[in-house]
Symmetry: C2
Subunit: 409 residues, 2 copies
Amino acid sequence: MAEIAVLGYGTVGSGVVEALWANQYNIDRKASQPIRVKYVFDVREFGAPIDKLLTHNIDDIIYDNDVRVVVEAMGGVEPAYAYVKEMLSRGKSVCTSNKELVAKHGAELLTLARDMNINFLFEASVGGGIPIIRPLNSSLAADEITEISGILNGTTNYILTKMTKENGDFNECLQAARQMGYAERDPSADIEGFDSCRKLAILVSLAIGKQVDFENIGTEGISRLTQRDVAYANELGGTLKLLATAKIDGPGVYARVSPVILRGGHPLAFVNDVYNAIYIKGKIIGEVMFYGRGAGKFPTASAVIADVVDAVKNLNRNIMHFWSTEKHEILPYGALKTDRLVRIGTNDAGKICQTLNTVDNVTFIKLFGDEIAAVIPDAANDAYERIVHSLAATGGDGRVISRTAIEGE
Amino acid sequence: MAEIAVLGYGTVGSGVVEALWANQYNIDRKASQPIRVKYVFDVREFGAPIDKLLTHNIDDIIYDNDVRVVVEAMGGVEPAYAYVKEMLSRGKSVCTSNKELVAKHGAELLTLARDMNINFLFEASVGGGIPIIRPLNSSLAADEITEISGILNGTTNYILTKMTKENGDFNECLQAARQMGYAERDPSADIEGFDSCRKLAILVSLAIGKQVDFENIGTEGISRLTQRDVAYANELGGTLKLLATAKIDGPGVYARVSPVILRGGHPLAFVNDVYNAIYIKGKIIGEVMFYGRGAGKFPTASAVIADVVDAVKNLNRNIMHFWSTEKHEILPYGALKTDRLVRIGTNDAGKICQTLNTVDNVTFIKLFGDEIAAVIPDAANDAYERIVHSLAATGGDGRVISRTAIEGE
């Protein structure tokens, strides 16, 4: 029998306990032995039947040598980091859903687990229930991955889908996301792209085998998007998505999180509502995509439980692909060529057109009276700089409202 | 060092050898040891550099105790089955891309591998490069799977996409698939649905842990579809797809392969061209989908190589989820309720409408002069029988041309 402990009895922690109980037969059969929850650690109080398992003292778990696998579902960096480090250094494998922890300290905790010949597993930290860490660790591990792009945040995808399909404005749609329970009271980690950024850092670190600091990934959220951006996306035959993307070209790793107009048949363009998807290109495998619920109590619990089963089956055997603490620099995504839509506020669109015609192959879209948009094909940053420069030369009428990458055909 | 043998030097076999050579560094690092091809077995002759590895005598491999992992890429049941059985019984793990072999003898070969404490792996047998066997074996193994639906054949999906987007007729589009190298000279295994059927049998066997005979899965291909079927799909806001579906309700397993009109936001509706995807519903995980190239030299090789790496890392450790030789009966899918489109050839549509109005909630679509179509909501087989009965009562004018399931909202 394997006795486990669950740290944190919030949405994920309670989902893990409930799903373990409800699916005991299947899970035990898969693990080839019974898996039982011995402790739930939380500072709060809970009624039956959790009260019998509940402890407020982390030492109960740390010093119980029968507990060889611990689920960390507390969220946040501290005290989760201190607890996880302590557990690992005492030979207990840890399965976590905590993206902040993995993005910040993944390399160190993976190293510690490897040195202890146990496991630090984090399938649930990216994409909720979607199996993505495991494929990166097995099916795709021998490949050379050249791109990882994902819709990694369900809240923002829900808001953008609603803005697109129902013409709501950003605040209305955020409010709807709150009502559905998809957005937290302080939604900034989601809507400003920080959540997607941490998840992207985890995926890229795993793919290249080196630590990528999420602070170095250029990140722009969706809070400034309006119905006008939706209108431009429609006009271009595309869909507005918050995309987390990394392109890997040998040692050159380019990454960013930003709103993107996805055109044509790109499979990520069809990922709607709260669904997430991760699209990967590899030199051998070509293109693959993994799609599913990126959050939610039971989808996330399912990923944690898959990790628990693996941890129980590999008590003295390190199975995770390793990424080193060596830091890998992220290059600015702007250096890569891509089509861009630049919105320019002006009362004299004609003059702006005349000025920007000096920039190569620009086409114009005129949808609104007080602005004009320019589509700049394959624009690297320098082309954009030239636009800003040209605009200054117009003598003041004309300012960049926003620029959005356009991807797909 | 791990020395391996490759049986069959066709598309997949040569892809495996070439990809192993081209990505040696990554693959060796992942396997924690060098993996080298010692033998290629084929009845044909090949020039350098394969000639040095080539043998026409299978005994060279059978009796070489240094070869612990064998790739089977010959295709077809015999002699692949005899060779694989021999290899496994001599303690050599086998990695295969051969869906006929796995669908027919999977249970027996898995049992043999388990008894020998080695591995019989077949990631490449379904979905080409798409990781699907491995997630079913790990991430999803503790869940209770209630549905597996897939677009499992690239050739037919290419043809249907072309019929839909370019209004070609079936034979033109099949010809185009041939020209692209997507269809074989005898395309019947693809277009009649047999290939999809075998793959579905493998997925369901793995999901329920018991042998499902593909011969018992009702299978209908796409060769009778015309532009009229495409027109009805458009009219219903859907897309025509060859869908392989199983619904699992405790011991009741319903399965079929048939053309389906996929409506609304179903993620499989967006899978176009030669791409494949497998959509899975589980009680804990909810919905997930795996998308990618379902065939092709290197995508398939990538799946085989992932298996080879796993086999090398687990030389004396059985890692596959097991399915027993106990056979599980497949129930006819027709017993499940689903909307259906029934096309009826007639010169007197009015009379047919009048007659069929006795069947509950039928709506009619009139697109062509010599036929009328009836949409029967939630039709179980009995409703269909009543239609046939009603038609007979019209006195002969009115015959069923086809019936197609409608899925999605």
